[in-house]
Symmetry: D3
Subunit: 319 residues, 6 copies
């Protein structure tokens, strides 16, 4: 079996099928049009330039299609880039389909949905349980495939669900150490905190922000949704307000998008758990390709740091 695109080192040759996730036209400094392609397979993504294109090329290499590409991975200002030597579009003869080339979560979608369901099932507080279940059911379909972001972390099919399940496991482990934490509240906070990403983002393919996402954002949308759910279910009581506060405050600071900071124990913990899972996801993907004794690419979302892999750490697995 072939090695995925994510695992190619600088200097390695590439001869494989890749999905064009996104194709954008530009004008080179010599005045000629070119395409910037975001190419992917299951394992990840890489950027490439297609220079000196004809109008036919533009009409052929469209977002959402699969091409066969030969080339070489190169270094461009500290980032990997694929230099294309040959490219051809695919036909039915090639027997490839776009969905097989989208990066997606490393776990099975239905298994993860089942796991979330179990956490909801175990809740003791009926109000929290009913609101969470209601919203989970309402958005389940989009929720099960949505990425958690357009870039930075969990930006793949089912990324949101994978992020939530990892956070639930963290929540379970940590609340076993700090018994004052209200597990129901914390689990509900985890399940709901990013749920409105299904409205803020346009879905798993060519993900971008919706108008509602830009003008309101997923935090405000979700607070609305909780209000509406409580109304529909006829639920009153402070649980509604507190769940809204958990969602509202999970980015922790005004300048990061939360109009109120966490003012409840579980709200503070929700923010810290979110942080851990996002950062571990970024670090794992960044250090995956780095050899022991070397520094990684810069990670913009982590203060632009370049991370080091100690010489006494394992080499990356050669797939």
């Amino acid at each position: 079996m072939k090695k995925g695109i994510h695992h190619h080192q600088i200097g390695e040759g590439v001869d494989t099928y890749l999905l064009i996730k996104n194709a954008k036209r530009g004008i080179a400094s010599n005045g000629k049009p070119f395409l910037t392609l975001h190419l992917s397979d299951k394992t990840g993504e890489i950027e490439a330039k297609l220079w000196g294109i004809s109008p036919e090329d533009e009409a052929t290499f469209l977002s959402g299609t699969v091409s066969h590409i030969q080339g070489e991975v190169q270094d461009f200002r500290g980032m990997r880039q694929l230099k294309i030597k040959a490219i051809r579009p695919t036909s039915s003869m090639d027997q490839v389909k776009p969905d097989d080339f989208l990066p997606s979560a490393p776990r099975n979608k239905d298994e993860m949905l089942e796991e979330v369901t179990q956490y909801i099932f175990d809740m003791q507080n009926a109000k929290i349980q009913r609101i969470t279940r209601h919203l989970f059911k309402k958005h389940q379909k989009a929720f099960s495939v949505s990425p958690a972001a357009t870039k930075n972390h969990h930006e793949f099919v089912s990324g949101l669900l994978y992020h939530v399940v990892s956070m639930l496991q963290l929540a379970k482990n940590i609340s076993s150490l700090y018994p004052t934490l209200d597990k129901d509240l914390l689990y509900a906070g985890v399940i709901l905190h990013d749920m409105a990403k299904v409205k803020e983002l346009s879905g798993p393919m060519a993900t971008q922000y919706t108008i509602e996402g830009k003008l309101l954002g997923h935090i405000t949308i979700m607070v609305n949704e909780i209000e509406e759910a409580a109304n529909e279910l006829g639920i009153e009581g402070e649980e509604v307000l507190v769940l809204q506060h958990l969602v509202l405050s999970h980015h922790s600071k005004g300048e990061w998008g939360s109009p109120k900071p966490p003012l409840i124990r579980e709200a503070e913990m929700l923010h810290m758990i979110d942080n851990i899972d996002a950062k571990m996801n970024m670090l794992d993907r960044t250090l995956d390709r780095v050899l022991p004794g070397e520094f990684s690419e810069r990670v913009f979302a982590m203060d632009n740091r370049s991370f080091y892999k100690p010489t006494f750490h394992e080499k990356p697995i050669d797939l």
Copy 2:
């Protein structure tokens, strides 16, 4: 007619009825209990200390009661303070009632409500008009007496309504100069932007933040209310989203409580109009007592500046 408490200079004697808006017990550095009183009449407020109190005093000088007080206005670290020389509680014989001693807006409440109604009546866009009217009617009673804040600006009975009417006049004048502004949107934004202060604050007497106010804040509450209003009225379309955005962004920056900055022309203008009216209210009240050629008390909410009244400006009116 007697001069109001707001207009007393340092060194002037006081011999009048005053409402105890707020009484708070403390322990002096000699170990004895004392009361910190916030005293007010129609014209404003002043702080006073009642030293060496007995348990009976504590039971007598309660928040919400009117007392007769003799004393002198003094300077305490650059702020005015009333030194009490004699104080007695009032009885029915005194023929005074608390409501007559609360500072309130300089304009008639019903007249102002009428003026807002007229602005709504003039709107062209039916969706914007119906949502605004619906919410105005729903909260009209509390809206008509609520202060706009607990301190800093418009912190008096009907302060919120007075602030809104002043902003509507500004909006009308300014939109006559910049014809690209959508008047309907701007007026609706003005009327709705702070409306949820009726839920965030506890009302005009002894005003404080509610739990909902502290955990969600008036901006988020109001965005919820617009959603609910649109649902109840069966209104769809981008107007709902845009009105929510105007409310959401009116504090302009994340660190000031707006999770999204203004991204629509009228949202930017709403923020600037809000700013002008709040600052002019603070400046007028601050400079009111200042003599030409002197500097004012420091104004905390305006970067702690101390403002100067030029010698060629009018003296304050001696009431």
Copy 3:
């Protein structure tokens, strides 16, 4: 009549005369020289690149000359750019002159000067009036054509005058609502606040900062000018100091160039009026080309925001 360059959408063809406001030589990444051209007509400006130029081209396409250009408007990293397909210099045969291609204020210069004169005429305080009139007369010629800035807002012929007249109208409207404002002081502040831009900037064509502008700045230069004017006119009294303070503080904060923050009521209002007019000018020009339902280019001077035009707003006029 032909549509101006400001109104061309991405993808539209161009076949017209344009002024080369500025031509700058650069070296492309293939090592060959090219020109970056800022092209304009009355309606606005667009950037273009002229690739692979010869020494003759360099000597031909000079700043301040008019060329005939064929090409297409394209998108370059979210900004509009004109792709030149054919360009030729003009001769006397073309009957075009540079001045007709400079963007300028939408109102008649003399009419605006007249309007400023009227505001000065109406002042009650003789000292303020005399200083303002003296400086207005002294700089009238340059003042009537100067742009208000090299970029961002009012960066066109008579932009400074247009900005001042708009602010005077705002000042008039707002001071009718807040009667504590001293109209004389506010009007004088508006007229004088940016007047030293005539010394800070090099004039309407190929505008750049002068050495004096870079080492002292228009604020300090203008404070000097007021001092000098008062000396020449033999005027003493606090009005001189207060006018200097208004100019000195109109950028509001040290990090924005004002060594003192506004400490006088009218100084605070001057800053807010300046802000409103600058932002409305930027917003109008930015949203002018945007279709309903779309986001604008990013506006650097407004925190790099991209603004939205609601779907229920008018389409831009098709000229």
Copy 4:
């Protein structure tokens, strides 16, 4: 058994023995001397003032002695304070000793030392294990009783050890979820990160910063210690450098005392684990006394927030 001082509500009477952890002389605003006492028992600490003291009082109520005190818990500017009604020194007749009144960790010291030893025993990497064990042995005595800070969190006898053990448990749980983490490195980082607090702080009674603590700080001292340990043990290799980096970067940012940010996966995780345990400790102690439906005192070290205990949460245990 009597309720501890930590659990007294505002208004409750006190009649008990308390340790004077710290006694500081001051001059009241009436010119008379007084003592500010920090009083404690096993459960916590409270401040009190002793007014109008004589020279004998000063010589009697010394730091480190136990007194018998009657009084009442009162509110002073939002903080609890004990109003002393009667106080007498104790003699051998009272059969009390200071050590029994120092707040200390809720777990047995030797049990915790044993637990740390087990974590060291389980390490696979011999270099990491030897350095950690060496330093743990070297400082074990002071380490076992040192507080983790002078205030804010874990500021009690064995607070440092308790903090380290909690973090080890967190590290174990979290690394079971993220298998890319190097457990040896993470455990060693946890054990060593604050170890130099034994040199930075003066010990568990009347804790203050040493001169070395003020001029170098525990981070720099510990990096030195690791260097020295490696030299003494004759250990070479990148493990030494990486352990130093973990200690050096555990405050995460320059302005928080770390000259380098975390640049290794385990360094980032160490910082996050430290953060979780410190914050949970502060939250637990703060919310311990708060009744459901009320807000806590402000917590300075957590951005001065005041936290809310939901009405549907358990009441605090009445001891």
Copy 5:
């Protein structure tokens, strides 16, 4: 000869004449009036409280008079304070006069003026020399006694002159090491940079900011003065502009009061020299009283740091 007030340690008795530099009435927390006195002799200043004063006391212990005081130096929240045990006003019999009790520069005024004159005399550039000499002559009288500030550094009689002479010596030494520096420009910058303090401050006794000082500040006033001087002397040329820039930029950043940062080599050096002399003055005065092995009071103007005097450094001289 008696030891000056600056050199008294905590706990030492005082029995001496002191000048009341400033007397301010306040109300104690027991409701009684008291005086806050700033007392000084040649060596420095100390604060004291006079409790429970009568109206006669108020009329007796006025600013600008000398009293005979017995008391003790005490610690008040980390600052020294004089506890007054006995105080009496002085009469002609005491043969003391206020001027002898004002702290002043450690060097002779006329000698220092002579030294400045010599630096001016040595200048090569006639334009710079003439402007500097003109302004030095014009303000010489006030300049020779003015403090350099109201607090923080050089806040004593002739403090400004002493600061300037020290900076001239620094300038001379440093420019001998960096020959690219223009000595004339640097010396002129030193002499002029703070000269307008003579207008910004009210003089050496009870120093406070003037209205002009508050509304314009010494930087802007001095730039005006240079302009005026050049006009009067008929001097043209870039020297005038450059001298204005040096004064304008000497605080280095907008938020510190300089609308332009240093853009000329000598402007940058001027800022650094100013910084060195101000900080050394603060450090010397702060560490003067500190014993080896101890930390100083906090120095607000130096980021609130508390400085350490090493044990191997000399003890302060016992006068």
Copy 6:
């Protein structure tokens, strides 16, 4: 003798030998490989691009070799760049060697070492002297050729030594003016403060950060070295701690890399002296090429300012 590369103006031709300090491969926007060369001679450095290279070119124009180059100095976005017209490698026939083309300090290395030795010889405090001498001897060889940085200032052979000697002269001059300064401490601080750059940087040719440099930094490494030196020499006493503090705090603020701010008089002065010498070095090199009446390139490390050379200043020397 030929003019060095540092002194060529924009537009001047070049025909000379140059060292390739650094050659880096890139991909141009037309897809072809190119080399970015950093070329130097004794006087300085210039960047150049070699377009459209063959594999042979890559193998020929290696870092550390000398080539003969013809070309022209051009302006690229405000920075100088060398446009290469012809390039050929050198052979033994050319009689050139790389070392002769490295920019280096303007003073003789051995003379400077001698000067440092003299400062150490003159120290009075034996502990300070012995530690300083020990470390100076230990690192003398690398210390004598190391640059002080990879860019910004003193980035040439022996740059560190040159920087230290300049600072010693400053320290001597300044401490003659402020007699409270401990000369021994200050000199030792100067000599040691950046000494660990010999471990943080990889040496004078193709200078880059080492792993130790990235993970610990020269400040922490040097504090370790002082500890070790004191141990080896058997020196105890506060001098060791204080020297460590001087090194630790010399960047002054946490965000600039110092975990403790200067808390000792000499530490504050060390920071200021370091600042002066670094800035004068940057200014001299920047203004060296600037003609009177013009502004320099922007200096990134000095807040990105562009500096002005007055018209009345000398022209740069034409070598």
